[in-house]
Protein backbone atom coordinates (compact mmCIF):
# COMPACT_ATOMS: atom_id res chain seq x y z
CA UNK A 1 0.00 0.00 0.00
CA UNK A 2 2.45 2.61 -1.22
CA UNK A 3 1.87 6.29 -0.47
CA UNK A 4 1.37 8.65 -3.37
CA UNK A 5 2.74 12.13 -3.99
CA UNK A 6 0.08 14.78 -4.48
CA UNK A 7 0.33 18.40 -5.43
CA UNK A 8 -2.56 20.82 -5.34
CA UNK A 9 -3.07 24.54 -5.17
CA UNK A 10 -5.06 25.35 -2.06
CA UNK A 11 -6.34 28.91 -1.68
CA UNK A 12 -3.65 30.04 -4.10
CA UNK A 13 -0.77 28.23 -2.37
CA UNK A 14 0.91 25.14 -3.77
CA UNK A 15 0.68 22.28 -1.29
CA UNK A 16 2.60 19.06 -1.73
CA UNK A 17 2.19 15.91 0.27
CA UNK A 18 2.72 12.17 0.32
CA UNK A 19 -0.48 10.47 1.29
CA UNK A 20 -2.00 7.02 1.66
CA UNK A 21 -4.56 6.37 -1.06
CA UNK A 22 -7.40 6.05 1.42
CA UNK A 23 -6.88 9.54 2.88
CA UNK A 24 -9.84 11.72 1.95
CA UNK A 25 -9.31 15.21 0.59
CA UNK A 26 -11.08 16.51 3.71
CA UNK A 27 -8.59 14.80 6.01
CA UNK A 28 -5.70 15.93 3.84
CA UNK A 29 -6.84 19.56 4.05
CA UNK A 30 -7.40 19.37 7.79
CA UNK A 31 -4.44 17.27 8.88
CA UNK A 32 -1.72 17.93 6.34
CA UNK A 33 -2.57 21.48 5.28
CA UNK A 34 -3.81 22.63 8.70
CA UNK A 35 -6.99 24.02 7.19
CA UNK A 36 -9.47 22.96 9.82
CA UNK A 37 -12.23 25.27 8.60
CA UNK A 38 -13.41 22.39 6.45
CA UNK A 39 -15.63 20.51 8.87
CA UNK A 40 -16.43 16.83 8.88
CA UNK A 41 -19.91 15.81 9.94
CA UNK A 42 -21.05 12.51 8.54
CA UNK A 43 -17.99 11.49 6.50
CA UNK A 44 -20.13 9.67 3.96
CA UNK A 45 -21.53 12.40 1.77
CA UNK A 46 -24.83 13.14 3.49
CA UNK A 47 -24.31 16.40 5.41
CA UNK A 48 -22.28 18.72 3.17
CA UNK A 49 -20.25 20.27 6.01
CA UNK A 50 -16.99 19.40 4.21
CA UNK A 51 -17.88 21.10 0.92
CA UNK A 52 -14.93 22.73 -0.88
CA UNK A 53 -14.36 23.98 -4.41
CA UNK A 54 -12.31 21.68 -6.63
CA UNK A 55 -11.40 23.46 -9.86
CA UNK A 56 -14.24 25.84 -9.06
CA UNK A 57 -16.92 23.21 -8.53
CA UNK A 58 -18.50 22.61 -5.12
CA UNK A 59 -17.89 19.02 -4.03
CA UNK A 60 -17.95 17.02 -0.83
CA UNK A 61 -14.32 16.63 0.21
CA UNK A 62 -15.14 13.48 2.23
CA UNK A 63 -16.15 11.78 -1.05
CA UNK A 64 -12.91 12.55 -2.85
CA UNK A 65 -9.62 10.90 -2.03
CA UNK A 66 -6.68 13.28 -1.84
CA UNK A 67 -4.96 11.28 -4.60
CA UNK A 68 -7.92 12.03 -6.88
CA UNK A 69 -7.40 15.74 -6.31
CA UNK A 70 -3.79 15.66 -7.49
CA UNK A 71 -3.13 18.57 -9.81
CA UNK A 72 -6.31 20.47 -8.98
CA UNK A 73 -7.08 23.90 -7.58
CA UNK A 74 -8.90 23.90 -4.26
CA UNK A 75 -10.70 26.67 -2.42
CA UNK A 76 -11.63 26.05 1.20
CA UNK A 77 -13.54 28.33 3.55
CA UNK A 78 -10.20 29.93 4.53
CA UNK A 79 -9.90 31.19 0.95
CA UNK A 80 -13.30 32.87 0.77
CA UNK A 81 -12.65 36.08 2.71
CA UNK A 82 -10.14 38.49 1.22
CA UNK A 83 -6.55 38.47 2.38
CA UNK A 84 -7.14 41.44 4.69
CA UNK A 85 -9.93 39.53 6.43
CA UNK A 86 -12.83 41.34 4.79
CA UNK A 87 -15.79 38.96 4.56
CA UNK A 88 -17.14 37.97 1.18
CA UNK A 89 -20.63 39.06 0.20
CA UNK A 90 -21.98 35.61 1.04
CA UNK A 91 -20.25 35.57 4.42
CA UNK A 92 -21.53 39.07 5.25
CA UNK A 93 -25.05 38.06 4.34
CA UNK A 94 -24.85 35.02 6.63
CA UNK A 95 -23.72 37.30 9.48
CA UNK A 96 -26.35 39.97 8.77
CA UNK A 97 -29.26 37.54 8.45
CA UNK A 98 -28.44 35.21 11.31
CA UNK A 99 -27.57 32.47 8.83
CA UNK A 100 -25.70 30.51 11.47
CA UNK A 101 -26.29 29.35 14.99
CA UNK A 102 -23.62 26.94 16.24
CA UNK A 103 -21.64 27.47 13.05
CA UNK A 104 -20.53 23.90 12.46
CA UNK A 105 -22.27 23.56 9.09
CA UNK A 106 -21.49 27.13 8.01
CA UNK A 107 -18.27 26.55 6.01
CA UNK A 108 -20.07 24.01 3.84
CA UNK A 109 -23.04 26.30 3.33
CA UNK A 110 -20.86 29.30 2.47
CA UNK A 111 -18.86 27.32 -0.09
CA UNK A 112 -21.97 25.80 -1.68
CA UNK A 113 -23.76 29.15 -1.84
CA UNK A 114 -20.68 30.91 -3.25
CA UNK A 115 -20.57 28.45 -6.18
CA UNK A 116 -24.35 28.45 -6.58
CA UNK A 117 -24.66 32.25 -6.85
CA UNK A 118 -21.71 32.44 -9.23
CA UNK A 119 -23.55 30.05 -11.58
CA UNK A 120 -27.06 31.33 -10.91
CA UNK A 121 -26.93 35.01 -9.91
CA UNK A 122 -30.70 35.52 -9.99
CA UNK A 123 -32.25 32.40 -8.43
CA UNK A 124 -35.92 31.89 -7.61
CA UNK A 125 -36.86 31.00 -4.04
CA UNK A 126 -37.39 27.43 -5.15
CA UNK A 127 -33.95 27.28 -6.75
CA UNK A 128 -32.40 28.62 -3.54
CA UNK A 129 -34.13 25.93 -1.48
CA UNK A 130 -33.01 23.25 -3.92
CA UNK A 131 -29.44 24.54 -3.86
CA UNK A 132 -29.44 24.43 -0.05
CA UNK A 133 -30.76 20.88 0.06
CA UNK A 134 -27.28 19.36 -0.12
CA UNK A 135 -26.21 20.87 3.20
CA UNK A 136 -27.65 19.98 6.58
CA UNK A 137 -27.95 22.33 9.57
CA UNK A 138 -28.56 20.43 12.79
CA UNK A 139 -29.63 23.67 14.49
CA UNK A 140 -32.32 23.81 11.76
CA UNK A 141 -31.55 27.46 11.11
CA UNK A 142 -32.73 27.21 7.54
CA UNK A 143 -34.91 30.34 7.49
CA UNK A 144 -31.96 32.55 8.33
CA UNK A 145 -29.76 30.74 5.82
CA UNK A 146 -32.40 31.14 3.14
CA UNK A 147 -32.72 34.88 3.88
CA UNK A 148 -28.93 35.20 3.73
CA UNK A 149 -28.76 33.60 0.30
CA UNK A 150 -31.50 35.83 -1.05
CA UNK A 151 -29.78 38.91 0.37
CA UNK A 152 -26.38 37.83 -0.96
CA UNK A 153 -27.86 37.33 -4.43
CA UNK A 154 -29.37 40.81 -4.32
CA UNK A 155 -26.16 42.52 -3.23
CA UNK A 156 -24.08 40.60 -5.77
CA UNK A 157 -26.48 41.68 -8.50
CA UNK A 158 -26.39 45.25 -7.21
CA UNK A 159 -22.67 45.21 -7.92
CA UNK A 160 -20.95 44.32 -4.70
CA UNK A 161 -18.87 41.45 -5.99
CA UNK A 162 -17.08 39.18 -3.60
CA UNK A 163 -13.83 40.90 -2.57
CA UNK A 164 -10.66 39.35 -3.89
CA UNK A 165 -11.60 35.89 -2.74
CA UNK A 166 -10.04 32.97 -4.55
CA UNK A 167 -13.02 31.59 -6.41
CA UNK A 168 -11.82 30.21 -9.72
CA UNK A 169 -14.42 29.58 -12.39
CA UNK A 170 -14.79 25.95 -13.46
CA UNK A 171 -12.97 24.99 -16.65
CA UNK A 172 -15.08 24.74 -19.81
CA UNK A 173 -16.36 21.21 -20.08
Amino acid sequence: MADTDVRMTVNGMVRRGTVPARLTLADHLRQNCGLTGTHLGCEHGACGACTVLVDGEAVRSCLVFAVQADDTEITTIEGIASADGRLSTVQSAFRDHHGLQCGFCTPGFVISVTAFLRDNPDPSDEEIREALSGNLCRCTGYQGIFQAVRAAAESLRAGSPAPEAVVPAPPDS
Binding site: M1, A2, R22, H44, L63, F65, Q68, A131, S133, G134
Partner: protein, 291 residues
Protein backbone atom coordinates in the same frame (compact mmCIF):
# COMPACT_ATOMS: atom_id res chain seq x y z
CA UNK B 1 -9.25 7.33 7.67
CA UNK B 2 -12.43 5.40 7.26
CA UNK B 3 -11.93 3.04 4.30
CA UNK B 4 -9.68 0.00 4.53
CA UNK B 5 -6.30 0.50 2.87
CA UNK B 6 -5.96 -0.01 -0.87
CA UNK B 7 -3.56 0.71 -3.69
CA UNK B 8 -4.37 3.48 -6.13
CA UNK B 9 -3.86 3.48 -9.87
CA UNK B 10 -4.52 6.33 -12.28
CA UNK B 11 -4.10 4.96 -15.81
CA UNK B 12 -3.76 7.54 -18.57
CA UNK B 13 -5.77 5.73 -21.24
CA UNK B 14 -8.30 2.98 -21.74
CA UNK B 15 -5.76 0.34 -22.78
CA UNK B 16 -3.81 0.86 -19.60
CA UNK B 17 -7.03 0.83 -17.53
CA UNK B 18 -8.37 -2.47 -18.85
CA UNK B 19 -4.85 -3.94 -18.80
CA UNK B 20 -4.65 -3.15 -15.08
CA UNK B 21 -8.10 -4.59 -14.46
CA UNK B 22 -7.16 -7.77 -16.30
CA UNK B 23 -3.97 -8.08 -14.30
CA UNK B 24 -5.47 -7.29 -10.88
CA UNK B 25 -8.61 -9.36 -11.37
CA UNK B 26 -11.41 -9.42 -8.82
CA UNK B 27 -9.37 -7.49 -6.25
CA UNK B 28 -9.66 -4.28 -8.25
CA UNK B 29 -12.55 -1.89 -8.65
CA UNK B 30 -13.01 1.02 -10.99
CA UNK B 31 -13.66 4.47 -9.54
CA UNK B 32 -15.04 7.37 -11.57
CA UNK B 33 -16.78 10.15 -9.59
CA UNK B 34 -16.90 7.94 -6.51
CA UNK B 35 -20.13 9.42 -5.19
CA UNK B 36 -21.59 5.97 -4.51
CA UNK B 37 -18.40 3.96 -4.07
CA UNK B 38 -16.63 6.25 -1.58
CA UNK B 39 -19.52 6.21 0.93
CA UNK B 40 -19.62 2.42 0.65
CA UNK B 41 -15.87 2.27 1.28
CA UNK B 42 -16.15 4.78 4.14
CA UNK B 43 -18.88 2.72 5.80
CA UNK B 44 -16.87 -0.42 5.00
CA UNK B 45 -19.81 -1.91 3.17
CA UNK B 46 -17.26 -2.44 0.42
CA UNK B 47 -13.51 -3.03 0.51
CA UNK B 48 -11.03 -3.23 -2.35
CA UNK B 49 -7.35 -4.02 -2.70
CA UNK B 50 -6.94 -1.78 -5.72
CA UNK B 51 -8.81 1.25 -7.01
CA UNK B 52 -8.40 2.06 -10.68
CA UNK B 53 -9.28 5.74 -11.17
CA UNK B 54 -10.61 6.65 -14.63
CA UNK B 55 -10.16 10.41 -14.25
CA UNK B 56 -7.28 10.68 -16.70
CA UNK B 57 -8.91 8.50 -19.38
CA UNK B 58 -9.87 10.94 -22.12
CA UNK B 59 -11.71 8.35 -24.24
CA UNK B 60 -14.52 8.40 -21.69
CA UNK B 61 -15.40 12.03 -22.30
CA UNK B 62 -17.56 13.72 -24.91
CA UNK B 63 -21.15 14.20 -25.99
CA UNK B 64 -21.68 13.75 -29.72
CA UNK B 65 -23.86 12.19 -32.39
CA UNK B 66 -22.51 8.78 -33.42
CA UNK B 67 -24.35 6.51 -35.85
CA UNK B 68 -27.52 8.56 -35.45
CA UNK B 69 -27.61 8.21 -31.66
CA UNK B 70 -26.43 10.62 -29.00
CA UNK B 71 -23.26 9.14 -27.53
CA UNK B 72 -22.29 10.23 -24.05
CA UNK B 73 -18.90 9.26 -22.67
CA UNK B 74 -19.18 7.25 -19.46
CA UNK B 75 -16.90 9.70 -17.68
CA UNK B 76 -19.12 12.74 -18.21
CA UNK B 77 -20.33 14.18 -14.94
CA UNK B 78 -24.03 14.43 -14.24
CA UNK B 79 -23.47 18.21 -14.06
CA UNK B 80 -22.10 18.18 -17.63
CA UNK B 81 -25.12 16.17 -18.79
CA UNK B 82 -27.38 18.64 -16.99
CA UNK B 83 -25.71 21.62 -18.70
CA UNK B 84 -25.65 20.11 -22.20
CA UNK B 85 -27.99 21.80 -24.68
CA UNK B 86 -27.54 18.80 -26.97
CA UNK B 87 -28.82 16.39 -24.31
CA UNK B 88 -31.79 18.63 -23.50
CA UNK B 89 -32.72 18.73 -27.18
CA UNK B 90 -32.05 15.13 -28.25
CA UNK B 91 -32.66 13.13 -25.05
CA UNK B 92 -34.97 15.29 -22.90
CA UNK B 93 -35.78 12.40 -20.56
CA UNK B 94 -32.13 12.17 -19.55
CA UNK B 95 -31.94 15.90 -18.86
CA UNK B 96 -35.07 15.78 -16.71
CA UNK B 97 -33.83 12.74 -14.79
CA UNK B 98 -30.50 14.42 -14.02
CA UNK B 99 -32.08 17.11 -11.88
CA UNK B 100 -33.44 14.39 -9.58
CA UNK B 101 -30.02 12.91 -8.85
CA UNK B 102 -28.60 13.79 -5.42
CA UNK B 103 -27.58 17.42 -4.97
CA UNK B 104 -25.59 19.72 -7.24
CA UNK B 105 -22.43 19.01 -5.25
CA UNK B 106 -22.90 15.28 -5.95
CA UNK B 107 -23.68 15.88 -9.63
CA UNK B 108 -20.43 17.85 -9.96
CA UNK B 109 -18.50 14.61 -9.35
CA UNK B 110 -20.87 11.76 -10.14
CA UNK B 111 -20.71 10.40 -13.68
CA UNK B 112 -23.29 8.88 -15.99
CA UNK B 113 -21.19 5.77 -16.47
CA UNK B 114 -20.72 5.42 -12.74
CA UNK B 115 -24.48 5.63 -12.10
CA UNK B 116 -25.15 2.94 -14.67
CA UNK B 117 -22.31 0.59 -13.76
CA UNK B 118 -23.10 0.96 -10.04
CA UNK B 119 -26.65 -0.12 -10.93
CA UNK B 120 -28.48 0.95 -7.81
CA UNK B 121 -32.04 -0.35 -8.04
CA UNK B 122 -33.41 3.08 -7.05
CA UNK B 123 -31.26 5.17 -9.41
CA UNK B 124 -32.67 7.32 -12.20
CA UNK B 125 -30.17 6.88 -15.06
CA UNK B 126 -30.48 3.08 -15.28
CA UNK B 127 -34.29 3.37 -15.49
CA UNK B 128 -34.00 6.05 -18.18
CA UNK B 129 -31.58 3.90 -20.18
CA UNK B 130 -34.07 1.03 -19.99
CA UNK B 131 -37.07 3.13 -21.02
CA UNK B 132 -35.15 4.46 -24.03
CA UNK B 133 -33.51 1.17 -25.06
CA UNK B 134 -30.07 2.74 -24.75
CA UNK B 135 -26.95 0.78 -25.67
CA UNK B 136 -23.86 0.48 -23.52
CA UNK B 137 -20.32 0.17 -24.85
CA UNK B 138 -17.80 -1.72 -22.81
CA UNK B 139 -14.12 -2.46 -23.18
CA UNK B 140 -12.02 -5.24 -21.64
CA UNK B 141 -8.66 -6.82 -22.44
CA UNK B 142 -10.62 -9.09 -24.83
CA UNK B 143 -11.90 -6.13 -26.87
CA UNK B 144 -15.00 -4.02 -27.16
CA UNK B 145 -18.64 -4.98 -27.15
CA UNK B 146 -22.07 -3.38 -27.08
CA UNK B 147 -24.76 -4.39 -24.60
CA UNK B 148 -28.43 -3.46 -24.84
CA UNK B 149 -29.78 -1.83 -21.67
CA UNK B 150 -32.38 -4.53 -21.18
CA UNK B 151 -29.70 -7.20 -20.78
CA UNK B 152 -27.47 -5.15 -18.52
CA UNK B 153 -29.02 -4.94 -15.05
CA UNK B 154 -28.92 -8.36 -13.44
CA UNK B 155 -29.70 -7.84 -9.74
CA UNK B 156 -28.66 -5.96 -6.61
CA UNK B 157 -25.77 -3.71 -7.70
CA UNK B 158 -24.84 -6.20 -10.38
CA UNK B 159 -24.58 -5.90 -14.13
CA UNK B 160 -23.54 -7.89 -17.17
CA UNK B 161 -20.09 -6.24 -17.06
CA UNK B 162 -17.15 -8.54 -16.37
CA UNK B 163 -14.83 -7.57 -13.50
CA UNK B 164 -12.15 -6.45 -15.96
CA UNK B 165 -14.55 -4.54 -18.18
CA UNK B 166 -15.03 -0.76 -18.24
CA UNK B 167 -18.23 0.94 -19.36
CA UNK B 168 -16.99 3.47 -21.91
CA UNK B 169 -20.07 5.15 -23.31
CA UNK B 170 -23.83 5.13 -23.61
CA UNK B 171 -25.77 5.64 -26.84
CA UNK B 172 -29.26 7.08 -26.51
CA UNK B 173 -31.72 7.17 -29.41
CA UNK B 174 -32.46 10.78 -30.29
CA UNK B 175 -36.04 11.95 -29.95
CA UNK B 176 -38.04 11.56 -33.13
CA UNK B 177 -41.65 11.65 -34.28
CA UNK B 178 -44.53 12.51 -31.97
CA UNK B 179 -42.83 11.67 -28.74
CA UNK B 180 -43.20 12.56 -25.09
CA UNK B 181 -41.11 11.80 -22.03
CA UNK B 182 -41.54 12.04 -18.28
CA UNK B 183 -39.91 10.82 -15.11
CA UNK B 184 -41.73 10.84 -11.78
CA UNK B 185 -40.50 9.73 -8.39
CA UNK B 186 -41.41 10.01 -4.74
CA UNK B 187 -38.62 10.76 -2.28
CA UNK B 188 -38.92 11.91 1.32
CA UNK B 189 -36.53 14.78 0.71
CA UNK B 190 -35.13 16.36 -2.42
CA UNK B 191 -32.04 14.44 -3.50
CA UNK B 192 -32.81 11.28 -1.57
CA UNK B 193 -33.04 7.98 -3.36
CA UNK B 194 -36.59 7.49 -4.58
CA UNK B 195 -39.00 5.24 -2.69
CA UNK B 196 -40.32 4.36 -6.13
CA UNK B 197 -40.28 5.97 -9.56
CA UNK B 198 -40.98 5.53 -13.24
CA UNK B 199 -39.53 6.84 -16.50
CA UNK B 200 -41.82 6.81 -19.53
CA UNK B 201 -40.75 7.25 -23.16
CA UNK B 202 -43.72 7.37 -25.52
CA UNK B 203 -44.06 7.68 -29.26
CA UNK B 204 -47.44 8.03 -30.98
CA UNK B 205 -48.25 7.31 -34.61
CA UNK B 206 -50.33 9.68 -36.72
CA UNK B 207 -53.50 7.89 -35.70
CA UNK B 208 -52.99 8.60 -31.98
CA UNK B 209 -51.97 5.02 -31.33
CA UNK B 210 -49.00 4.02 -29.25
CA UNK B 211 -46.14 3.20 -31.60
CA UNK B 212 -43.69 2.59 -28.76
CA UNK B 213 -43.83 3.02 -25.03
CA UNK B 214 -40.86 2.14 -22.82
CA UNK B 215 -41.41 2.22 -19.06
CA UNK B 216 -38.43 1.95 -16.71
CA UNK B 217 -39.17 1.31 -13.03
CA UNK B 218 -36.81 2.11 -10.17
CA UNK B 219 -37.00 1.38 -6.43
CA UNK B 220 -39.33 -1.51 -7.15
CA UNK B 221 -37.07 -4.54 -7.22
CA UNK B 222 -33.54 -5.84 -6.89
CA UNK B 223 -32.64 -3.87 -10.00
CA UNK B 224 -34.28 -1.36 -12.30
CA UNK B 225 -36.67 -3.08 -14.67
CA UNK B 226 -39.06 -2.64 -17.56
CA UNK B 227 -42.80 -2.66 -16.81
CA UNK B 228 -43.30 -5.49 -19.29
CA UNK B 229 -47.02 -6.11 -18.71
CA UNK B 230 -47.88 -2.42 -19.07
CA UNK B 231 -45.73 -2.01 -22.18
CA UNK B 232 -47.49 -4.98 -23.74
CA UNK B 233 -50.92 -3.60 -22.89
CA UNK B 234 -49.97 -0.25 -24.42
CA UNK B 235 -48.51 -1.51 -27.69
CA UNK B 236 -50.80 -0.35 -30.49
CA UNK B 237 -53.42 0.99 -28.07
CA UNK B 238 -55.39 4.14 -28.85
CA UNK B 239 -53.85 6.66 -26.48
CA UNK B 240 -57.20 8.27 -25.60
CA UNK B 241 -58.52 4.89 -24.39
CA UNK B 242 -55.70 4.33 -21.94
CA UNK B 243 -56.65 4.89 -18.31
CA UNK B 244 -53.56 6.14 -16.46
CA UNK B 245 -54.43 4.52 -13.12
CA UNK B 246 -55.05 1.20 -14.83
CA UNK B 247 -51.71 1.35 -16.65
CA UNK B 248 -50.08 2.17 -13.31
CA UNK B 249 -51.60 -0.92 -11.72
CA UNK B 250 -50.71 -3.11 -14.70
CA UNK B 251 -47.12 -1.88 -14.47
CA UNK B 252 -46.91 -3.29 -10.95
CA UNK B 253 -47.81 -6.84 -11.97
CA UNK B 254 -45.09 -9.46 -12.01
CA UNK B 255 -42.72 -7.53 -9.71
CA UNK B 256 -41.33 -10.13 -7.35
CA UNK B 257 -38.61 -8.55 -5.24
CA UNK B 258 -40.01 -5.20 -4.13
CA UNK B 259 -37.90 -3.94 -1.23
CA UNK B 260 -39.29 -3.49 2.26
CA UNK B 261 -37.65 -0.97 4.57
CA UNK B 262 -38.38 1.88 6.95
CA UNK B 263 -40.22 3.73 4.18
CA UNK B 264 -42.82 1.01 3.97
CA UNK B 265 -43.70 -2.53 2.93
CA UNK B 266 -43.84 -3.76 -0.68
CA UNK B 267 -47.58 -3.07 -0.85
CA UNK B 268 -46.96 0.61 -0.17
CA UNK B 269 -44.18 0.80 -2.76
CA UNK B 270 -46.50 -0.79 -5.29
CA UNK B 271 -49.11 1.90 -4.70
CA UNK B 272 -46.47 4.60 -5.04
CA UNK B 273 -45.05 2.94 -8.17
CA UNK B 274 -48.47 2.70 -9.79
CA UNK B 275 -49.10 6.39 -9.09
CA UNK B 276 -45.71 7.38 -10.53
CA UNK B 277 -46.34 5.39 -13.72
CA UNK B 278 -49.78 6.98 -14.08
CA UNK B 279 -48.38 10.48 -13.63
CA UNK B 280 -45.45 9.92 -15.97
CA UNK B 281 -47.72 8.41 -18.62
CA UNK B 282 -50.08 11.39 -18.42
CA UNK B 283 -47.25 13.90 -18.77
CA UNK B 284 -45.56 11.99 -21.59
CA UNK B 285 -48.83 11.74 -23.49
CA UNK B 286 -49.47 15.45 -23.12
CA UNK B 287 -46.03 16.22 -24.51
CA UNK B 288 -46.39 13.75 -27.39
CA UNK B 289 -49.69 15.34 -28.40
CA UNK B 290 -48.37 18.87 -28.22
CA UNK B 291 -45.01 18.11 -29.81
Amino acid sequence: MKPAAFDYHAPVDLDEAVGLLGELGEDAKVIAGGQSLVPMLALRLAAVDHLVDLRRVGELRGIEVRDGALWIGAGMTQAAVERSAEVAEAVPLLARATRLIGHFQIRNRGTIGGSIAHADAAAEYPAVALALDAEFEACSPRGRRTLPAREFFTGWWSTALDPDEVLTGISFPRRAGRSGFAIEELARRHGDFAIAGAAVALELDDGERVRRCGIGLFGLGSSVQRAAAAEEALAGAVAADVRPDEIGRTAMTGLDSIPSDLHGPPEYRKRVGAAMVARAWTKALQEARNG
